[in-house]
């Protein structure tokens, strides 16, 4: 008979062995879970949201310039170039390589020979030629024409004097030569969603916009206007193993409050946040884990009209500088915008290579502002009309916040409230003394800064009517040089000129915030537009409730 002590020892050993086994099993499961969390899972459903309107405009990507429509179009269609968010640069999407002529004007692309349209046909150089020619149809107002106009001979097609774009030459099915008119990187032009490559046999069907066919990772399945677009995985997509998900749903949700309920109720996987929600989500320990932030390439500012129709005081640089010094921008960003913005230093955003990292924003210095105003001949200040929309981040609430700050240095504002739809029209016509708005400031820094080039018409984007020989010279040199490092440096200098000249009140760069559920992976902080994701890289793990 074994002694009691022996029995106790044996039991103890058993407990230890079983504990060890259990511990190893748990560790193993933990490792497996960790591996599962890292390894993209095939299958599942992605449910993204389209927050900018109550419907989609068009699913014909060439017919629409809207950010809302591009959320879907990025999944169904592809462009010659794409924006690489991870490395903040342009990359070839539908070509494997490109060679550039010495004069920097002729680009020869070796196209992908593995890109299929959703109707099963392989893409060739003819499809790119067809797509770009379609965009230049002079009878239609395709928004992508502003980009394709870079290609030699495109304007002839636009005017109707030619049927083919002379700068597009097919060498063989998978080799395409593009001749451009300016020494710029055509990638900045040909990555825009409105230059998507379409198959002629589908694009010419009258119902193409309702049944789009493209080269993207997901193929169109269903569109319930005003509700959702559903897409399915395209198995012949050219990136091996991608996309991961079986289905992608883009759900229209224009109301922020309703989106919030749906997100908390786990009915959607992503949701763009406004300032109020940003505060609430950051304060919630669970929701705070799923927040993706990025400084988007949008600069919010008050643009002064420096032309004759504007307020006379703004013609003086000292007044404009005083305006920047009089406002406590940091306070407004913190208290009113709830930190959902980054303080603007100058016109170009920090993501631009030409952004000068050594530069500091205008300090809040009302005394210096008063001194500058006195020097400019306005010791008692002045009054002007400020056109504004209702936008919560760059509209009336901001105007109300700066009014008392400016009043302290004698500048009085007469706000003029208009609809957002009208704002651009007023700016283009120059029917404003100043207006507050948000401007796209990337990713092409040269094109962005051209909005302050003296020869750029107001209708194009020079809404301030700014004119500076020093600035023009820098921009001319930047446009002519083929040396990219030199161009970056010249643009940096030009941006610094803008800082000093202050044709605007530099307010903030938008901080785009995307809330996401814990089961969705592969989302990217795209600074060109955070809702424009790369659906082929996104996957959902098994904890997703969507079936």
């Amino acid at each position: 008979m074994p002694s009691d002590r022996f029995v106790q020892g044996e039991m103890l050993m058993r407990i230890l062995v079983w504990s060890a086994v259990a511990a190893f099993a748990l560790m193993g499961a933990g490792v497996a879970d960790a591996q599962q969390a890292q390894t993209p899972r095939k299958g599942g459903v992605i449910r993204m949201t389209a927050p900018y309107a109550a419907s989609f405009g068009s699913l014909d990507p060439q017919a629409t310039p809207r950010a809302q429509d591009d959320i879907v179009n990025k999944a169904i269609h592809r462009t010659l170039y794409n924006w690489d968010t991870a490395n903040s640069k342009l990359v070839l999407e539908l070509a494997k390589s490109v060679s550039v002529s010495d004069d920097g004007l002729v680009y020869t692309y070796k196209l992908r020979d593995d890109a299929y349209f959703h109707n099963g046909r392989k893409m060739t150089a003819d499809d790119i030629i067809y797509s770009y020619t379609r965009i230049m149809d002079g009878k239609k107002g395709y928004p992508g024409a502003r980009y394709i106009r870079l290609i030699k001979g495109a304007t002839d097609v636009e005017k109707g004097t030619a049927k083919e774009i002379s700068g597009l030459r097919k060498i063989d099915d998978y080799t395409l030569e593009i001749t451009i008119t300016d020494r710029v990187d055509p990638g900045y032009y040909l990555f825009s969603g409105s230059t998507a490559i379409l198959p002629k046999e589908e694009a010419e069907k009258p119902d193409f916009a309702s049944h789009p066919v493209g080269l993207g990772p997901f193929k169109f399945k269903e569109h319930i206007p005003g509700s959702r677009v559903v897409m399915e995985r395209f198995d012949k997509f050219y990136k091996p193993g991608k996309p991961y998900a079986d289905r992608l749903e883009v759900l229209i949700m224009a109301e922020a409050a309703a989106r919030d309920v749906a997100f908390r109720n786990k009915e959607i996987d992503t949701s763009i946040l406004g300032p109020a929600q940003y505060v609430a989500y950051r304060a919630d320990p669970q929701l705070a884990k799923g927040i993706l932030e990025v400084p988007e390439m949008f600069t919010r500012s008050i643009q002064f009209n420096l032309a004759d129709g504007g307020a006379k005081p703004f013609k003086d640089k000292r007044v404009r500088q005083a305006f920047n010094l009089a406002i406590d921008s940091d306070l407004i960003i913190k208290r009113l915008v709830k930190d959902k913005a980054y303080r603007a230093v100058s016109w170009l955003p920090p993501s631009s290579a030409s952004f000068d990292k050594t530069m500091k924003p205008y300090a809040h210095d009302p005394e210096k502002a008063k001194k500058l105003l006195a020097e400019a001949g306005y010791p008692n200040g002045f009054e002007f009309e400020l056109t504004t929309s209702q936008n919560e981040s760059w509209g009336m609430p901001i105007v109300e916040a700066i009014m008392p700050m400016l009043a302290k240095v004698g500048i009085k504002i007469k706000p003029k409230l208009v609809e957002v739809t009208v704002l651009t029209e007023i700016a283009m016509k120059g029917e404003h003394q100043a207006y507050i708005g948000s401007s796209l400031t990337g990713p092409d820094s040269l094109a962005t800064l051209r909005c302050y080039y003296s020869k750029t018409p107001r209708t194009a984007c020079n809404y301030t009517g700014f004119s500076s020989p020093a600035f023009d010279k820098l921009l001319d040199e930047a446009g002519q040089t083929g040396d990219m490092a030199k161009r970056t440096d010249l643009l940096k200098q030009a941006n610094n000129v803008l800082y000093d000249e202050a044709p605007v009140w530099f307010f903030n760069y938008n901080k785009a915030v995307l809330a996401h559920q814990p089961w969705i992976h592969g989302l990217q902080a795209n600074p060109t537009e955070i809702t424009h994701q790369y659906p082929e890289d996104i996957w959902v793990d098994a904890t997703s409730p969507a079936k």
């Binding site: 106009r149 109720n265 704002l423 796209l440």
Partner: protein, 312 residues
């Protein structure tokens, strides 16, 4: 009856023309256009040459009288033009939205009639009782509530807290997605119907012929069924008709909140983006619907109350 119908239809045509003219002129003088609105919160920049071409393509540069004449001529033959946004025929766009809209309206009205008329009736039969007080508090609350706020509260309660229903969307078109938007849309008409029914029933209950019926020894149930209900119904049907007719227009807020794919959400997007053909098409439909329902109500009066005769 045919004469009534013919007369009503004769009134409908000038009303329609007046509405079409008003909407057309209002949108022509409003600042901003579809093209300038494409900037979409500063997220997009549009090339001025493209803008010019779009204006030409959309006929926005043509003189106003010419545009109006063209629009009237096309509308007369059922051509509502092409949407600026989607470049598709407006009739096609509306056709896609009409069924979800009708579904929502019928569901909302069914909720309003069942709950509103029942509450009003019960309240009138026992004036001053607890039922009356509760019903009227519910009715006044329903009338005062903002659809937007009430819709959000429904979402919080039934979707987020109780997890009974989906919070938004159309789903597969089934009833589960329909319930919350229908209640949010129907609460206003429900409240009005409750109050109207109560007032109408109380009015009839005090009428001489009801007193006569009671004095003849008729049972209370029979009095209510034969005399009260039928006579109170005229006013109730008027309210139902008016409310039902205007429901398509009222649905704008609810459809946007619940991402419901009806005519209302199409209208709101089209207004904000100045898509004039789509706006005109949607408003035309809403007005047509209103006029059609009211014509049906007028006809229903004759059927319910033989004393009513038009044009005599």
């Amino acid at each position: 009856m045919l004469l009534v119908l013919a007369r009503r239809l004769a009134n409908v045509v000038p009303t329609l023309v007046a509405v079409i003219a008003l909407v057309f002129l209002l949108f022509s003088v409003l600042p901003g256009s579809f093209i300038s609105g494409m900037g979409e919160d500063g997220r997009t920049t549009i090339d001025p040459a493209v803008m010019e071409r779009m204006r030409k393509e959309m006929g926005l540069d043509d003189p106003l009288p010419e545009r109006f004449a063209k629009y009237i001529a096309h509308t007369a033959v059922g051509d509502l033009g092409k949407s600026f946004r989607t470049r598709e025929p407006v009739t096609y766009l509306i056709g896609q939205r009409i069924w979800p809209s009708l579904k929502l309206m019928f569901a909302a009205m069914a909720f309003a009639i069942v709950v509103g008329v029942t509450l009003g009736f019960l309240a009138a039969l026992r004036p001053g009782s607890l039922v009356d007080t509760v019903s009227m508090v519910a009715a006044i609350s329903g009338l005062s509530l903002s659809q937007f706020w009430f819709g959000l509260m429904l979402m919080y309660l039934f979707a987020l807290t109780l997890q009974w229903l989906p919070s938004f969307g159309y789903g597969d078109g089934g009833i589960m997605h329909l319930i919350l938007p229908a209640i949010a849309l129907g609460v206003g008409p429900m409240a009005l119907l409750a109050r109207t029914t109560r007032a109408a029933v109380l009015d009839v209950l005090n009428a001489d012929f009801v007193r006569t019926a009671r004095s003849k020894g008729m049972s209370e149930r029979r009095v209510v069924e034969w005399h009260v209900l039928r006579n109170a119904l005229v006013l109730v049907i008027t309210i139902i008709g008016l409310q039902f007719g205007s429901l398509m227009g009222q649905a704008v807020v609810v459809e946007k909140l619940f991402a419901w794919p009806g005519v209302g959400s199409l209208l709101i997007d089209s207004v904000f983006q100045r898509d004039m053909p789509a706006v005109q098409g949607c408003i035309l439909l809403i007005v047509l619907f209103f006029l059609a329902i009211n014509t049906l109500v007028d006809i229903a009066y004759v059927a319910i109350d033989p004393r009513i005769r038009y044009g005599r």
